[in-house]
Symmetry: C2
Subunit: 454 residues, 2 copies
Amino acid sequence: MTETEAVLAAVRERVDPTAAERERLSTAAERLVERAEDALAARDLDADVVRVGSTARGTWVRGDRDIDVFVRFSPSLDREELETSGLAVGNAVLPDGHEEYAEHPYVKGEFEGYDVDLVPCYAVESARDIQSAVDRTPFHTEYLEVRLDDELAADVRLCKQFLKGIGAYGSDLKTEGFSGYLTELLVLEYGGFEALLEAAATEWHPPVTLDPEDHADASFDDPLVVIDPTDPERNVAAVVSAANVARLQHYARRFREDPRESYFFSSPREPLTAEAVREAFADRGTRALAVRFGDDSLLDLVEDQRYPQLRRSLDGLVRGLEKRGFEVLRAATWADETAVLFCELSVAELPGIERHRGPPVHVGEHAEGFYRKYADDADVYGPYIDGERYVVERERSVTSAAAFAEEELESVALGHAVERLVETGEYAVLADADVCVLAEEFGEELAAYFEPRP
Amino acid sequence: MTETEAVLAAVRERVDPTAAERERLSTAAERLVERAEDALAARDLDADVVRVGSTARGTWVRGDRDIDVFVRFSPSLDREELETSGLAVGNAVLPDGHEEYAEHPYVKGEFEGYDVDLVPCYAVESARDIQSAVDRTPFHTEYLEVRLDDELAADVRLCKQFLKGIGAYGSDLKTEGFSGYLTELLVLEYGGFEALLEAAATEWHPPVTLDPEDHADASFDDPLVVIDPTDPERNVAAVVSAANVARLQHYARRFREDPRESYFFSSPREPLTAEAVREAFADRGTRALAVRFGDDSLLDLVEDQRYPQLRRSLDGLVRGLEKRGFEVLRAATWADETAVLFCELSVAELPGIERHRGPPVHVGEHAEGFYRKYADDADVYGPYIDGERYVVERERSVTSAAAFAEEELESVALGHAVERLVETGEYAVLADADVCVLAEEFGEELAAYFEPRP
């Protein structure tokens, strides 16, 4: 047995479901489907019941306890009927469950120890005809069921665990990583986990485009493009960030060079204390700036709404700072009980004046306008001529990064929920030593920040 | 009389040579030519004697005391014979003079109170056949003599004085301004001083190209191109900087808007004291850095060699500072008894670390090389992944602008004479309060620096 084989065998020992686990899950799932069918019959509803997701396809990782059951109604039903009937069946099957809402409502509940989603959808002809995003899911299961044999399913489990270990698993907008379905398609396309790693390590030059059914009917501007075999107009990997593609490439190379079980199981970071944060800034000689939000209007957003808003706001803050000459070394955003835009600065203070370049002297009215505007302004130096242009040195509106965050944050592009809070001043600016208090809430994030890994 | 006419009449009163002055100069110049002709005859040399320059063309400004006399030898003479004979005649005419060297030697001396250059050259057929740069000069005088009437000559004087007043007169490489010959051609081309101002104020969009004889036979990459009427391959305005073209445009507009005599006669600056320099920096909130050279190898250079070297060195210093993150607000170079590269900084100090962006992770060997180089380096943070790339944060080689000037000045592009001094460490770095000592030597330059005008 090679070293790689030994490591993969050891990982399999940890991620493959046990026979007893499979048996239990299979029995529970069958009973669930029966109950759903009975509920439909009792209400004289015309629909079929299908299992979807990783536990239906045999690709779940040991310990996952999710069973997804879809109830497919006729596409002729209107949306309201679908919702009413769907919830009726869901509540009958999962009497202790509760209703949730994605594109339309469904019932979530516990059944014999499993976390169950019972989701109504339309039984459309093909994934191209979907009326709601969830209509697509049964097609994925159909497609994979017949193609993933036990060996490939085992490799899918290895691959999911590897992506979890390197922090690239999950299509939520906080992670921007690989979804379960995408992982399955990649393993299927390359014929196994190791073949996928080989391709990622040695062949991928983003944009990487894969089209298993060779039927692409749209073009995409993403670093990884995997055309959905059930829908030629959809990129299954649309959410995967360039960083997560690079991360998979990086760790694929590391694993192939030195196979170790530890790549599959990341160890949590030791949270940093406030004192350690202070020391880290002292060692680096940099300046700190944080903008902190405590308002529920932002924090109650689901992660898939909150993180894009925070990232957009962080990007706006960084651009705003750099445009005004405050050089940002690195930035990050975190959210838990509060949300934080965190910037580490190389330059946090600037002089009272800044250079302001005017038009070339020869551009007639524009140049004259510039000259006249400043000629009698006692607060500016100049206008003088530099090369062919007028230049003045005028007062800077803010001379510190903290003052910018306090006074001019409204001027940058922010996420909507963030923008509202900034407009009403519902945020706090922390500078330098003050940011250490963030260690109470974001100790692990700060640990990862100051000891960054690929 | 319009306001403009009144102002121009008042300026003429100050710049037109008096009748007595003309008479005296004319007599002295005739005697000089005679003496030169006698000296040629006595040596049995075949050459003719011509007067050139502004006093020959009637375009000199009152008080100028330069008489230029050229002795034109046959082009068949070899260079050595030309020099020997030229100097012999020169020394005979100006027995108290001394030899100077431009492209070849000539004699400079005083004659009846005038400063005289007695220059040997070749009597070539046309300015295109010149064997030495000075051969061209008599053609300029020939060309202008017949075209500049008294009225135009008077306008040339106005124009020269205007250019002096705004600091744009002189083709030396410190000024990079308008030569006398160029001024004459411009006034001739536009038909007068006011017409030239009108064109500069309202029509010029550099590059501006004028070709009085419509015979250009080369192309030029200069903001102002005036093809020499005596040489289709030469731009008479080659030395004029973009700033001086812009300066003429700016002051042309000012004068047309509000004609004032003061534009023609700039008042000298009141030198700044060391204390005033300190206050200026305090007001502006900026940081100072100066590199000062006291070595004769640089200071003994003629200005036309020294200033290009200093400017090139200043440019190198500024680029070097900015490349390393030290933002330069403005910079200048001055020379007198010492030479100085002077920088005013917005950012003079930076943290101990800097961001260093590596290659995209997918570029195979290059990416692997970067990763390996830094993976086990305890002094860097990272490598981590940002977007598709590796990034590290590594130690900065210098954390202050002064340290850069002290330790890394060799790394930037410098003028040759400056480079030698930097290599051997023969320079001093002054930072912040220390630069105030420059006021002793460069008080006027510092006054102009802190109260800049177009």
